[in-house]
Amino acid sequence: MNVLDYVVLFAAILGIAGYGAWHTRHRSDMAAYWKGVGKTRWTVIGISVMATQASAITFLSTPGQGYDGGLRFVQNYFGLPLALIVVAAIFLPLYRRLNVYTAYEFLGKRFDGRARLLGAALFLLQRGLQAGITIYAPAIVLTTVMGWRLDLTIICTGLVVIAYTVSGGSDAVSVTQKYQFGVIFAGMLAAVIVLIMRLPDALSMGDALRVAGGFDKLDAVDFRFDLSERYNVWSGIIGGVFLSLSYFGTDQSQVQRYLTGPSLRESRLGLMFNALFKIPMQFCILLLGVLLFVFYQFEPAPVYFDTTAWEQAKVEGASDQLTALESAYATAHDERAESIRMWLEAERAGDAVTAEAARSSALAAHERGQAIRTDAIAALQQTNERAKTEDYDYVFITFVLDFLPHGLIGLLIAVFFAAALSSLAAELSALGETTNVDFYRFVFRRVAPERHYVTSSRWLTVFWGVVAIGFALFANQQENLIEAINIVGSLFYGVVLGMFCVAFFVRHVGGWSVFWGAIVSQCLIFVLFFSDVFDFSYLYYNMIGCVGCVLLSIVLQFAIQRAKQQPEA
Protein backbone atom coordinates (compact mmCIF):
# COMPACT_ATOMS: atom_id res chain seq x y z
CA MET A 1 0.00 0.00 0.00
CA ASN A 2 1.21 3.51 -0.75
CA VAL A 3 0.18 6.97 0.48
CA LEU A 4 -2.80 7.15 -1.89
CA ASP A 5 -4.16 3.86 -0.53
CA TYR A 6 -3.85 5.07 3.06
CA VAL A 7 -5.56 8.37 2.20
CA VAL A 8 -8.50 6.51 0.61
CA LEU A 9 -8.67 4.04 3.52
CA PHE A 10 -8.65 6.62 6.33
CA ALA A 11 -10.90 9.08 4.48
CA ALA A 12 -13.53 6.39 3.92
CA ILE A 13 -13.43 4.85 7.39
CA LEU A 14 -12.89 7.87 9.64
CA GLY A 15 -15.04 10.16 7.47
CA ILE A 16 -18.08 7.87 7.75
CA ALA A 17 -17.54 7.20 11.46
CA GLY A 18 -17.13 10.91 12.17
CA TYR A 19 -20.23 11.81 10.18
CA GLY A 20 -22.27 9.17 12.04
CA ALA A 21 -21.17 10.49 15.42
CA TRP A 22 -21.81 14.13 14.44
CA HIS A 23 -25.18 13.48 12.81
CA THR A 24 -26.60 11.69 15.87
CA ARG A 25 -24.84 13.63 18.64
CA HIS A 26 -28.06 14.88 20.34
CA ARG A 27 -29.73 11.55 21.15
CA SER A 28 -30.56 11.95 24.85
CA ASP A 29 -33.74 9.94 25.43
CA MET A 30 -34.14 6.16 25.33
CA ALA A 31 -36.48 6.02 22.33
CA ALA A 32 -34.28 8.23 20.14
CA TYR A 33 -31.08 6.52 21.30
CA TRP A 34 -32.29 2.97 20.60
CA LYS A 35 -34.97 3.40 17.97
CA GLY A 36 -33.86 6.55 16.18
CA VAL A 37 -36.02 9.60 15.58
CA GLY A 38 -38.64 7.76 13.53
CA LYS A 39 -37.47 8.88 10.10
CA THR A 40 -35.60 5.77 8.97
CA ARG A 41 -36.87 4.75 5.52
CA TRP A 42 -37.18 1.16 4.34
CA THR A 43 -34.16 1.48 2.06
CA VAL A 44 -31.97 2.38 5.04
CA ILE A 45 -33.52 -0.39 7.14
CA GLY A 46 -32.94 -2.88 4.33
CA ILE A 47 -29.31 -1.83 3.89
CA SER A 48 -28.82 -1.79 7.65
CA VAL A 49 -30.16 -5.35 8.04
CA MET A 50 -27.96 -6.50 5.16
CA ALA A 51 -24.86 -4.68 6.41
CA THR A 52 -25.30 -6.12 9.92
CA GLN A 53 -25.30 -9.65 8.56
CA ALA A 54 -22.52 -9.06 6.04
CA SER A 55 -19.40 -8.59 8.10
CA ALA A 56 -15.82 -8.29 6.86
CA ILE A 57 -15.69 -12.07 6.90
CA THR A 58 -18.35 -12.11 4.18
CA PHE A 59 -16.14 -10.15 1.83
CA LEU A 60 -12.81 -11.73 2.82
CA SER A 61 -13.84 -15.33 3.23
CA THR A 62 -16.77 -15.87 0.84
CA PRO A 63 -14.68 -15.37 -2.33
CA GLY A 64 -12.35 -17.99 -0.84
CA GLN A 65 -15.36 -20.30 -0.43
CA GLY A 66 -16.16 -19.69 -4.10
CA TYR A 67 -12.56 -20.34 -5.11
CA ASP A 68 -12.46 -23.65 -3.23
CA GLY A 69 -16.00 -25.03 -3.25
CA GLY A 70 -17.62 -23.11 -6.08
CA LEU A 71 -21.14 -21.76 -5.81
CA ARG A 72 -22.58 -24.46 -3.52
CA PHE A 73 -22.26 -22.26 -0.41
CA VAL A 74 -25.13 -20.13 -1.76
CA GLN A 75 -27.50 -22.90 -0.60
CA ASN A 76 -26.69 -21.82 2.96
CA TYR A 77 -28.99 -18.83 2.35
CA PHE A 78 -31.96 -20.69 0.83
CA GLY A 79 -33.94 -20.57 4.07
CA LEU A 80 -33.55 -16.81 4.40
CA PRO A 81 -36.44 -15.54 2.22
CA LEU A 82 -38.89 -17.95 3.85
CA ALA A 83 -37.74 -16.95 7.33
CA LEU A 84 -37.99 -13.25 6.55
CA ILE A 85 -41.58 -13.68 5.40
CA VAL A 86 -42.43 -15.29 8.76
CA VAL A 87 -40.61 -12.52 10.65
CA ALA A 88 -42.37 -9.79 8.65
CA ALA A 89 -45.80 -11.40 8.98
CA ILE A 90 -45.74 -12.62 12.59
CA PHE A 91 -42.78 -11.43 14.69
CA LEU A 92 -42.58 -7.81 13.57
CA PRO A 93 -46.23 -6.76 14.11
CA LEU A 94 -46.16 -8.16 17.63
CA TYR A 95 -42.89 -6.44 18.56
CA ARG A 96 -44.22 -3.16 17.27
CA ARG A 97 -47.59 -3.51 18.97
CA LEU A 98 -46.00 -4.27 22.33
CA ASN A 99 -43.58 -1.37 21.75
CA VAL A 100 -40.62 -3.36 23.08
CA TYR A 101 -36.98 -2.28 22.91
CA THR A 102 -35.63 -5.84 22.82
CA ALA A 103 -37.02 -9.15 21.61
CA TYR A 104 -36.51 -10.60 25.10
CA GLU A 105 -38.94 -8.09 26.62
CA PHE A 106 -41.57 -9.95 24.64
CA LEU A 107 -40.58 -13.22 26.38
CA GLY A 108 -41.00 -11.47 29.73
CA LYS A 109 -44.47 -10.26 28.79
CA ARG A 110 -45.54 -13.61 27.38
CA PHE A 111 -43.97 -15.84 30.06
CA ASP A 112 -42.15 -14.37 33.04
CA GLY A 113 -38.93 -12.65 34.09
CA ARG A 114 -36.97 -15.90 34.22
CA ALA A 115 -37.66 -16.72 30.55
CA ARG A 116 -36.81 -13.13 29.59
CA LEU A 117 -33.47 -13.30 31.42
CA LEU A 118 -32.61 -16.71 29.91
CA GLY A 119 -33.35 -15.50 26.36
CA ALA A 120 -31.33 -12.35 26.92
CA ALA A 121 -28.46 -14.31 28.53
CA LEU A 122 -28.24 -16.77 25.62
CA PHE A 123 -28.17 -13.84 23.22
CA LEU A 124 -25.45 -12.03 25.20
CA LEU A 125 -23.35 -15.20 25.39
CA GLN A 126 -23.39 -16.07 21.69
CA ARG A 127 -23.40 -12.52 20.35
CA GLY A 128 -20.64 -11.51 22.78
CA LEU A 129 -18.51 -14.38 21.39
CA GLN A 130 -19.38 -13.48 17.81
CA ALA A 131 -18.54 -9.81 18.36
CA GLY A 132 -15.04 -10.98 19.26
CA ILE A 133 -14.86 -13.08 16.09
CA THR A 134 -16.24 -10.18 14.04
CA ILE A 135 -13.34 -7.98 15.09
CA TYR A 136 -10.66 -10.69 15.17
CA ALA A 137 -11.39 -12.47 11.89
CA PRO A 138 -10.62 -9.67 9.45
CA ALA A 139 -7.80 -8.38 11.64
CA ILE A 140 -5.87 -11.67 11.53
CA VAL A 141 -6.03 -11.82 7.74
CA LEU A 142 -5.34 -8.14 7.10
CA THR A 143 -2.46 -7.87 9.55
CA THR A 144 -0.85 -11.01 8.18
CA VAL A 145 -0.78 -9.74 4.64
CA MET A 146 -0.23 -6.05 5.42
CA GLY A 147 2.43 -6.58 8.06
CA TRP A 148 0.52 -4.47 10.59
CA ARG A 149 0.50 -5.25 14.32
CA LEU A 150 -2.49 -7.48 15.17
CA ASP A 151 -3.11 -6.05 18.63
CA LEU A 152 -3.03 -2.43 17.44
CA THR A 153 -5.34 -3.20 14.50
CA ILE A 154 -7.87 -4.89 16.79
CA ILE A 155 -7.74 -2.08 19.37
CA CYS A 156 -8.01 0.73 16.79
CA THR A 157 -10.90 -0.96 14.97
CA GLY A 158 -12.71 -1.52 18.27
CA LEU A 159 -12.18 2.05 19.47
CA VAL A 160 -13.54 3.60 16.25
CA VAL A 161 -16.69 1.48 16.51
CA ILE A 162 -17.14 2.24 20.20
CA ALA A 163 -16.77 5.97 19.57
CA TYR A 164 -19.63 6.45 17.14
CA THR A 165 -21.87 3.69 18.52
CA VAL A 166 -21.71 5.14 22.03
CA SER A 167 -22.23 8.65 20.69
CA GLY A 168 -25.35 8.12 18.60
CA GLY A 169 -26.73 4.71 19.58
CA SER A 170 -28.78 2.67 17.14
CA ASP A 171 -29.41 5.65 14.86
CA ALA A 172 -25.66 6.19 14.39
CA VAL A 173 -25.33 2.55 13.43
CA SER A 174 -28.02 2.90 10.72
CA VAL A 175 -26.62 6.18 9.38
CA THR A 176 -23.05 4.90 9.10
CA GLN A 177 -24.12 1.54 7.66
CA LYS A 178 -25.75 3.29 4.70
CA TYR A 179 -22.47 4.94 3.67
CA GLN A 180 -20.31 1.97 4.64
CA PHE A 181 -22.40 -0.20 2.36
CA GLY A 182 -21.86 2.32 -0.43
CA VAL A 183 -18.09 1.91 0.01
CA ILE A 184 -18.48 -1.87 0.05
CA PHE A 185 -20.57 -1.91 -3.13
CA ALA A 186 -18.19 0.42 -4.98
CA GLY A 187 -15.12 -1.53 -3.88
CA MET A 188 -16.47 -4.97 -4.76
CA LEU A 189 -17.69 -3.74 -8.15
CA ALA A 190 -14.25 -2.28 -8.87
CA ALA A 191 -12.60 -5.58 -7.91
CA VAL A 192 -14.89 -7.55 -10.23
CA ILE A 193 -14.21 -5.18 -13.14
CA VAL A 194 -10.43 -5.39 -12.63
CA LEU A 195 -10.62 -9.18 -12.33
CA ILE A 196 -12.55 -9.52 -15.61
CA MET A 197 -10.12 -7.14 -17.36
CA ARG A 198 -7.19 -9.18 -16.04
CA LEU A 199 -8.42 -12.46 -17.54
CA PRO A 200 -6.38 -13.53 -20.59
CA ASP A 201 -7.32 -11.66 -23.80
CA ALA A 202 -8.27 -14.84 -25.63
CA LEU A 203 -10.61 -15.88 -22.81
CA SER A 204 -14.17 -14.62 -23.19
CA MET A 205 -16.57 -14.54 -20.25
CA GLY A 206 -18.28 -17.60 -21.70
CA ASP A 207 -14.94 -19.42 -21.85
CA ALA A 208 -14.21 -18.47 -18.25
CA LEU A 209 -17.55 -19.89 -17.12
CA ARG A 210 -16.99 -23.04 -19.19
CA VAL A 211 -13.64 -23.55 -17.45
CA ALA A 212 -15.31 -23.04 -14.06
CA GLY A 213 -18.09 -25.45 -15.02
CA GLY A 214 -15.53 -28.00 -16.20
CA PHE A 215 -14.03 -27.99 -12.69
CA ASP A 216 -17.55 -28.29 -11.12
CA LYS A 217 -17.28 -24.81 -9.61
CA LEU A 218 -20.72 -23.75 -10.88
CA ASP A 219 -22.63 -26.53 -9.08
CA ALA A 220 -24.87 -24.24 -7.06
CA VAL A 221 -27.84 -26.50 -6.39
CA ASP A 222 -27.64 -30.04 -5.03
CA PHE A 223 -31.00 -31.79 -4.56
CA ARG A 224 -29.54 -35.01 -3.06
CA PHE A 225 -30.72 -35.55 0.52
CA ASP A 226 -27.67 -36.32 2.66
CA LEU A 227 -27.59 -35.27 6.31
CA SER A 228 -23.79 -35.31 6.40
CA GLU A 229 -23.50 -33.04 3.37
CA ARG A 230 -22.85 -29.56 4.72
CA TYR A 231 -24.47 -27.67 1.84
CA ASN A 232 -27.37 -28.96 -0.20
CA VAL A 233 -30.87 -27.65 -0.93
CA TRP A 234 -32.37 -29.48 2.04
CA SER A 235 -29.84 -28.40 4.67
CA GLY A 236 -30.12 -24.91 3.19
CA ILE A 237 -33.90 -24.75 3.35
CA ILE A 238 -34.59 -26.79 6.51
CA GLY A 239 -31.58 -25.75 8.58
CA GLY A 240 -31.40 -22.35 6.91
CA VAL A 241 -35.01 -21.47 7.76
CA PHE A 242 -34.37 -22.17 11.44
CA LEU A 243 -31.03 -20.33 11.39
CA SER A 244 -32.47 -17.29 9.60
CA LEU A 245 -35.69 -17.27 11.60
CA SER A 246 -33.70 -17.27 14.79
CA TYR A 247 -31.19 -14.69 13.55
CA PHE A 248 -33.68 -12.22 12.09
CA GLY A 249 -36.53 -12.89 14.49
CA THR A 250 -34.81 -13.20 17.86
CA ASP A 251 -31.27 -11.82 17.60
CA GLN A 252 -31.38 -8.31 18.99
CA SER A 253 -28.66 -7.09 16.60
CA GLN A 254 -31.21 -7.60 13.80
CA VAL A 255 -34.42 -6.88 15.73
CA GLN A 256 -32.97 -3.50 16.69
CA ARG A 257 -32.30 -2.71 13.02
CA TYR A 258 -35.87 -3.12 11.79
CA LEU A 259 -37.50 -1.66 14.89
CA THR A 260 -35.94 1.69 13.94
CA GLY A 261 -38.58 1.96 11.19
CA PRO A 262 -41.23 4.65 11.77
CA SER A 263 -44.01 2.30 10.65
CA LEU A 264 -44.76 -1.36 10.16
CA ARG A 265 -44.68 -0.79 6.40
CA GLU A 266 -41.14 0.61 6.38
CA SER A 267 -39.83 -2.22 8.58
CA ARG A 268 -41.55 -4.88 6.47
CA LEU A 269 -40.24 -3.46 3.22
CA GLY A 270 -36.73 -3.37 4.69
CA LEU A 271 -37.02 -7.09 5.46
CA MET A 272 -38.47 -7.90 2.02
CA PHE A 273 -35.56 -6.01 0.45
CA ASN A 274 -33.25 -8.54 2.11
CA ALA A 275 -35.50 -11.49 1.17
CA LEU A 276 -35.10 -10.49 -2.48
CA PHE A 277 -31.49 -9.34 -2.68
CA LYS A 278 -29.47 -11.32 -0.12
CA ILE A 279 -29.24 -14.49 -2.21
CA PRO A 280 -28.12 -12.71 -5.43
CA MET A 281 -25.59 -10.72 -3.40
CA GLN A 282 -24.05 -13.90 -1.96
CA PHE A 283 -24.17 -15.50 -5.40
CA CYS A 284 -22.22 -12.59 -6.89
CA ILE A 285 -19.56 -12.73 -4.17
CA LEU A 286 -19.19 -16.49 -4.67
CA LEU A 287 -19.03 -15.98 -8.43
CA LEU A 288 -16.20 -13.53 -7.82
CA GLY A 289 -14.39 -16.39 -6.05
CA VAL A 290 -15.11 -18.73 -8.96
CA LEU A 291 -13.68 -16.18 -11.40
CA LEU A 292 -10.62 -15.90 -9.16
CA PHE A 293 -10.24 -19.66 -9.54
CA VAL A 294 -10.34 -19.28 -13.34
CA PHE A 295 -7.93 -16.34 -13.17
CA TYR A 296 -5.38 -18.40 -11.22
CA GLN A 297 -5.59 -21.19 -13.82
CA PHE A 298 -3.63 -18.89 -16.13
CA GLU A 299 -1.79 -16.68 -13.65
CA PRO A 300 0.81 -18.34 -11.40
CA ALA A 301 -0.76 -18.89 -7.99
CA PRO A 302 1.13 -19.30 -4.72
CA VAL A 303 1.23 -22.87 -3.39
CA TYR A 304 -0.15 -21.52 -0.12
CA PHE A 305 -2.06 -18.22 -0.18
CA ASP A 306 -0.91 -17.12 3.28
CA THR A 307 2.44 -16.18 1.78
CA THR A 308 3.66 -14.58 5.02
CA ALA A 309 3.43 -17.93 6.85
CA TRP A 310 5.01 -19.63 3.83
CA GLU A 311 8.01 -17.30 3.70
CA GLN A 312 8.38 -17.51 7.48
CA ALA A 313 8.58 -21.31 7.24
CA LYS A 314 11.29 -20.98 4.62
CA VAL A 315 13.30 -18.75 6.92
CA GLU A 316 12.85 -21.22 9.77
CA GLY A 317 14.67 -24.02 7.93
CA ALA A 318 12.25 -25.65 5.50
CA SER A 319 13.53 -23.67 2.53
CA ASP A 320 14.78 -26.58 0.36
CA GLN A 321 11.65 -28.68 0.84
CA LEU A 322 9.24 -25.78 0.25
CA THR A 323 11.17 -24.52 -2.79
CA ALA A 324 11.01 -28.00 -4.33
CA LEU A 325 7.25 -28.06 -3.71
CA GLU A 326 6.90 -24.60 -5.32
CA SER A 327 8.74 -25.89 -8.39
CA ALA A 328 6.54 -29.01 -8.66
CA TYR A 329 3.41 -26.89 -8.19
CA ALA A 330 4.50 -24.47 -10.93
CA THR A 331 5.03 -27.42 -13.31
CA ALA A 332 1.55 -28.80 -12.55
CA HIS A 333 0.13 -25.29 -13.03
CA ASP A 334 1.76 -24.88 -16.46
CA GLU A 335 0.49 -28.30 -17.59
CA ARG A 336 -3.00 -27.43 -16.42
CA ALA A 337 -2.98 -24.03 -18.16
CA GLU A 338 -1.83 -25.64 -21.41
CA SER A 339 -4.50 -28.35 -21.18
CA ILE A 340 -7.20 -25.73 -20.59
CA ARG A 341 -6.05 -23.78 -23.67
CA MET A 342 -6.23 -26.97 -25.76
CA TRP A 343 -9.63 -27.79 -24.31
CA LEU A 344 -11.08 -24.37 -25.21
CA GLU A 345 -9.53 -24.40 -28.70
CA ALA A 346 -10.99 -27.86 -29.35
CA GLU A 347 -14.41 -26.69 -28.16
CA ARG A 348 -14.27 -23.69 -30.48
CA ALA A 349 -13.33 -26.04 -33.35
CA GLY A 350 -16.22 -28.34 -32.44
CA ASP A 351 -13.91 -31.26 -31.69
CA ALA A 352 -15.69 -32.82 -28.72
CA VAL A 353 -13.34 -35.81 -28.36
CA THR A 354 -10.18 -33.69 -28.15
CA ALA A 355 -11.95 -31.23 -25.87
CA GLU A 356 -12.92 -33.97 -23.42
CA ALA A 357 -9.39 -35.45 -23.48
CA ALA A 358 -7.86 -32.02 -22.81
CA ARG A 359 -10.35 -31.37 -20.01
CA SER A 360 -9.44 -34.72 -18.40
CA SER A 361 -5.79 -33.78 -18.68
CA ALA A 362 -6.51 -30.42 -17.01
CA LEU A 363 -8.40 -32.13 -14.19
CA ALA A 364 -5.54 -34.58 -13.69
CA ALA A 365 -3.04 -31.71 -13.51
CA HIS A 366 -5.35 -29.99 -11.03
CA GLU A 367 -5.42 -33.11 -8.85
CA ARG A 368 -1.61 -33.24 -8.94
CA GLY A 369 -1.51 -29.61 -7.90
CA GLN A 370 -3.92 -30.28 -5.03
CA ALA A 371 -1.77 -33.22 -3.88
CA ILE A 372 1.29 -30.95 -3.90
CA ARG A 373 -0.65 -28.38 -1.87
CA THR A 374 -1.50 -31.08 0.68
CA ASP A 375 2.17 -31.99 0.97
CA ALA A 376 3.05 -28.30 1.23
CA ILE A 377 0.62 -27.71 4.10
CA ALA A 378 1.96 -30.80 5.90
CA ALA A 379 5.51 -29.48 5.47
CA LEU A 380 4.38 -26.05 6.67
CA GLN A 381 2.81 -27.52 9.78
CA GLN A 382 6.01 -29.37 10.64
CA THR A 383 7.63 -25.95 10.91
CA ASN A 384 4.66 -24.12 12.38
CA GLU A 385 2.04 -26.16 14.27
CA ARG A 386 -0.40 -23.25 14.17
CA ALA A 387 -0.39 -23.03 10.38
CA LYS A 388 -3.93 -23.46 9.06
CA THR A 389 -4.83 -26.39 6.81
CA GLU A 390 -7.03 -24.05 4.74
CA ASP A 391 -5.77 -20.80 3.27
CA TYR A 392 -8.80 -19.75 1.25
CA ASP A 393 -9.48 -16.69 3.42
CA TYR A 394 -6.29 -15.25 1.89
CA VAL A 395 -7.23 -15.76 -1.77
CA PHE A 396 -9.13 -12.53 -2.38
CA ILE A 397 -6.83 -10.29 -0.34
CA THR A 398 -3.83 -11.76 -2.21
CA PHE A 399 -5.46 -10.86 -5.52
CA VAL A 400 -6.30 -7.36 -4.28
CA LEU A 401 -2.73 -6.65 -3.19
CA ASP A 402 -1.06 -8.23 -6.24
CA PHE A 403 -3.28 -7.06 -9.08
CA LEU A 404 -5.33 -3.98 -8.15
CA PRO A 405 -3.93 -0.49 -8.87
CA HIS A 406 -3.05 1.84 -6.02
CA GLY A 407 -6.04 3.74 -4.77
CA LEU A 408 -8.27 0.74 -5.42
CA ILE A 409 -6.17 -1.29 -2.98
CA GLY A 410 -6.97 1.33 -0.32
CA LEU A 411 -10.65 1.20 -1.32
CA LEU A 412 -10.77 -2.58 -0.99
CA ILE A 413 -9.06 -2.51 2.41
CA ALA A 414 -11.68 0.13 3.32
CA VAL A 415 -14.35 -2.36 2.16
CA PHE A 416 -13.15 -4.95 4.67
CA PHE A 417 -12.96 -2.41 7.49
CA ALA A 418 -16.32 -0.83 6.60
CA ALA A 419 -17.95 -4.26 6.70
CA ALA A 420 -16.26 -5.06 10.03
CA LEU A 421 -17.34 -1.74 11.55
CA SER A 422 -20.93 -1.97 10.29
CA SER A 423 -21.64 -5.39 11.75
CA LEU A 424 -19.63 -4.84 14.93
CA ALA A 425 -21.42 -1.54 15.60
CA ALA A 426 -24.80 -3.27 15.31
CA GLU A 427 -23.63 -6.06 17.60
CA LEU A 428 -22.27 -3.73 20.28
CA SER A 429 -25.36 -1.56 20.11
CA ALA A 430 -27.61 -4.60 20.57
CA LEU A 431 -25.45 -6.02 23.37
CA GLY A 432 -25.50 -2.68 25.21
CA GLU A 433 -29.24 -2.27 24.75
CA THR A 434 -30.07 -5.82 25.88
CA THR A 435 -27.87 -5.59 28.95
CA ASN A 436 -29.40 -2.24 29.80
CA VAL A 437 -33.07 -3.06 29.16
CA ASP A 438 -33.23 -6.74 30.15
CA PHE A 439 -30.78 -6.78 33.03
CA TYR A 440 -29.91 -3.35 34.43
CA ARG A 441 -33.34 -1.75 34.14
CA PHE A 442 -35.33 -4.94 34.73
CA VAL A 443 -33.33 -6.41 37.63
CA PHE A 444 -31.43 -3.57 39.29
CA ARG A 445 -33.06 -0.19 38.70
CA ARG A 446 -36.61 -0.14 37.46
CA VAL A 447 -37.26 3.58 37.93
CA ALA A 448 -34.86 6.31 36.83
CA PRO A 449 -34.86 9.34 34.50
CA GLU A 450 -34.47 8.70 30.76
CA ARG A 451 -31.05 10.34 30.70
CA HIS A 452 -29.84 7.88 33.33
CA TYR A 453 -30.71 4.93 31.10
CA VAL A 454 -29.07 6.54 28.08
CA THR A 455 -25.92 7.04 30.14
CA SER A 456 -26.00 3.46 31.42
CA SER A 457 -26.56 2.26 27.83
CA ARG A 458 -23.50 4.15 26.71
CA TRP A 459 -21.32 2.63 29.43
CA LEU A 460 -22.66 -0.86 28.73
CA THR A 461 -21.87 -0.44 25.02
CA VAL A 462 -18.33 0.58 26.01
CA PHE A 463 -18.18 -2.50 28.25
CA TRP A 464 -19.15 -4.85 25.41
CA GLY A 465 -16.74 -3.12 23.07
CA VAL A 466 -13.92 -3.75 25.53
CA VAL A 467 -15.06 -7.40 25.93
CA ALA A 468 -15.04 -7.85 22.12
CA ILE A 469 -11.57 -6.32 21.86
CA GLY A 470 -10.33 -8.53 24.73
CA PHE A 471 -11.81 -11.67 23.17
CA ALA A 472 -10.32 -10.78 19.78
CA LEU A 473 -6.87 -10.31 21.32
CA PHE A 474 -6.95 -13.82 22.78
CA ALA A 475 -8.90 -15.65 20.06
CA ASN A 476 -7.59 -18.72 18.29
CA GLN A 477 -7.55 -19.15 14.56
CA GLN A 478 -10.38 -20.99 12.86
CA GLU A 479 -9.97 -22.95 9.64
CA ASN A 480 -12.54 -20.96 7.73
CA LEU A 481 -13.88 -17.80 9.27
CA ILE A 482 -17.33 -17.58 7.70
CA GLU A 483 -18.12 -21.11 8.77
CA ALA A 484 -16.82 -20.48 12.29
CA ILE A 485 -19.20 -17.59 12.82
CA ASN A 486 -22.16 -19.59 11.51
CA ILE A 487 -21.31 -22.60 13.66
CA VAL A 488 -21.16 -20.53 16.87
CA GLY A 489 -24.54 -18.99 16.02
CA SER A 490 -26.10 -22.35 15.22
CA LEU A 491 -25.24 -23.71 18.66
CA PHE A 492 -27.45 -21.16 20.42
CA TYR A 493 -29.97 -19.90 17.88
CA GLY A 494 -32.21 -22.96 17.76
CA VAL A 495 -33.01 -22.94 21.47
CA VAL A 496 -33.75 -19.20 21.53
CA LEU A 497 -35.98 -19.64 18.50
CA GLY A 498 -37.70 -22.53 20.28
CA MET A 499 -38.58 -20.22 23.19
CA PHE A 500 -40.09 -17.70 20.78
CA CYS A 501 -41.98 -20.42 18.88
CA VAL A 502 -43.54 -21.61 22.13
CA ALA A 503 -44.42 -17.99 22.94
CA PHE A 504 -46.03 -17.44 19.55
CA PHE A 505 -47.70 -20.75 18.79
CA VAL A 506 -48.21 -22.89 21.93
CA ARG A 507 -50.69 -21.11 24.09
CA HIS A 508 -50.93 -23.27 27.19
CA VAL A 509 -47.18 -23.49 27.98
CA GLY A 510 -45.93 -21.30 30.82
CA GLY A 511 -42.63 -19.78 31.92
CA TRP A 512 -41.31 -22.61 34.11
CA SER A 513 -41.73 -25.20 31.36
CA VAL A 514 -40.15 -23.13 28.62
CA PHE A 515 -37.27 -22.17 30.90
CA TRP A 516 -36.32 -25.77 31.69
CA GLY A 517 -37.15 -26.93 28.18
CA ALA A 518 -34.64 -24.40 26.87
CA ILE A 519 -31.96 -25.34 29.42
CA VAL A 520 -32.18 -29.07 28.64
CA SER A 521 -32.26 -28.43 24.86
CA GLN A 522 -29.17 -26.24 25.06
CA CYS A 523 -27.34 -28.99 26.99
CA LEU A 524 -28.42 -31.48 24.31
CA ILE A 525 -26.98 -29.27 21.57
CA PHE A 526 -23.64 -29.03 23.39
CA VAL A 527 -23.53 -32.83 23.84
CA LEU A 528 -24.26 -33.37 20.13
CA PHE A 529 -21.66 -30.81 19.10
CA PHE A 530 -18.83 -32.03 21.30
CA SER A 531 -19.44 -35.77 20.78
CA ASP A 532 -18.42 -37.46 17.55
CA VAL A 533 -21.35 -39.87 17.54
CA PHE A 534 -23.52 -37.96 15.08
CA ASP A 535 -22.25 -36.57 11.81
CA PHE A 536 -24.52 -33.96 10.24
CA SER A 537 -24.37 -30.41 8.96
CA TYR A 538 -24.17 -27.75 11.69
CA LEU A 539 -27.21 -26.08 10.11
CA TYR A 540 -29.38 -28.86 11.60
CA TYR A 541 -28.46 -27.76 15.15
CA ASN A 542 -30.86 -24.85 14.61
CA MET A 543 -33.71 -27.23 13.90
CA ILE A 544 -32.81 -29.67 16.70
CA GLY A 545 -32.52 -26.89 19.30
CA CYS A 546 -35.81 -25.32 18.26
CA VAL A 547 -37.84 -28.54 17.99
CA GLY A 548 -36.25 -29.90 21.19
CA CYS A 549 -37.14 -26.78 23.14
CA VAL A 550 -40.74 -26.74 21.86
CA LEU A 551 -41.35 -30.45 22.54
CA LEU A 552 -39.71 -30.43 25.96
CA SER A 553 -41.66 -27.33 26.98
CA ILE A 554 -44.92 -29.02 26.01
CA VAL A 555 -43.99 -32.26 27.82
CA LEU A 556 -42.95 -30.40 30.96
CA GLN A 557 -46.13 -28.32 30.93
CA PHE A 558 -48.15 -31.49 30.56
CA ALA A 559 -46.26 -33.07 33.50
CA ILE A 560 -46.90 -30.01 35.68
CA GLN A 561 -50.60 -30.07 34.93
CA ARG A 562 -50.75 -33.78 35.70
CA ALA A 563 -48.91 -33.23 38.98
CA LYS A 564 -51.33 -30.44 39.93
CA GLN A 565 -54.36 -32.53 39.10
CA GLN A 566 -53.28 -35.63 41.05
CA PRO A 567 -53.58 -34.20 44.62
CA GLU A 568 -57.02 -32.87 43.75
CA ALA A 569 -58.05 -36.34 42.55
Binding site: I90, F106, G213, D219, G510
Partner: protein
Amino acid sequence: MMDRSNPITHPRNTSFDSGSDEHSTGLPGFKTWRGVYYFVLIVFVAYVMLFKAFELAFS
Protein backbone atom coordinates in the same frame (compact mmCIF):
# COMPACT_ATOMS: atom_id res chain seq x y z
CA MET B 1 -42.20 -16.77 39.91
CA MET B 2 -45.53 -17.07 38.18
CA ASP B 3 -45.84 -20.04 35.90
CA ARG B 4 -48.71 -19.04 33.75
CA SER B 5 -49.06 -18.03 30.14
CA ASN B 6 -50.02 -14.44 29.60
CA PRO B 7 -53.25 -14.45 27.62
CA ILE B 8 -53.13 -10.70 27.04
CA THR B 9 -49.97 -10.68 24.98
CA HIS B 10 -50.47 -13.95 23.18
CA PRO B 11 -50.60 -13.36 19.41
CA ARG B 12 -53.94 -15.11 19.06
CA ASN B 13 -55.47 -12.55 21.38
CA THR B 14 -54.15 -9.55 19.49
CA SER B 15 -55.47 -8.29 16.22
CA PHE B 16 -52.93 -8.29 13.37
CA ASP B 17 -55.20 -6.14 11.26
CA SER B 18 -55.19 -2.91 13.19
CA GLY B 19 -53.63 0.15 11.59
CA SER B 20 -53.75 1.19 7.97
CA ASP B 21 -50.22 0.12 7.09
CA GLU B 22 -51.07 -3.44 8.14
CA HIS B 23 -53.28 -3.60 5.06
CA SER B 24 -51.65 -1.22 2.62
CA THR B 25 -48.27 -2.04 1.13
CA GLY B 26 -47.98 1.26 -0.75
CA LEU B 27 -46.36 -0.69 -3.58
CA PRO B 28 -47.70 -0.48 -7.13
CA GLY B 29 -49.29 -3.79 -8.10
CA PHE B 30 -49.43 -5.16 -4.56
CA LYS B 31 -52.63 -4.49 -2.66
CA THR B 32 -51.90 -6.82 0.27
CA TRP B 33 -48.83 -8.06 2.08
CA ARG B 34 -49.82 -11.60 1.21
CA GLY B 35 -49.22 -10.68 -2.43
CA VAL B 36 -45.76 -9.37 -1.55
CA TYR B 37 -44.92 -12.61 0.26
CA TYR B 38 -46.07 -14.73 -2.68
CA PHE B 39 -43.96 -12.58 -4.97
CA VAL B 40 -40.88 -13.13 -2.78
CA LEU B 41 -41.51 -16.90 -2.80
CA ILE B 42 -41.87 -16.95 -6.58
CA VAL B 43 -38.64 -14.97 -6.97
CA PHE B 44 -36.86 -17.43 -4.64
CA VAL B 45 -38.02 -20.41 -6.73
CA ALA B 46 -36.90 -18.53 -9.85
CA TYR B 47 -33.44 -18.02 -8.30
CA VAL B 48 -33.07 -21.76 -7.63
CA MET B 49 -34.16 -22.62 -11.16
CA LEU B 50 -31.82 -20.02 -12.66
CA PHE B 51 -28.88 -21.31 -10.60
CA LYS B 52 -29.59 -24.85 -11.83
CA ALA B 53 -29.90 -23.64 -15.42
CA PHE B 54 -26.63 -21.69 -15.05
CA GLU B 55 -24.92 -24.83 -13.71
CA LEU B 56 -26.23 -26.98 -16.57
CA ALA B 57 -25.41 -24.39 -19.23
CA PHE B 58 -21.68 -24.44 -18.42
CA SER B 59 -21.17 -27.98 -17.12
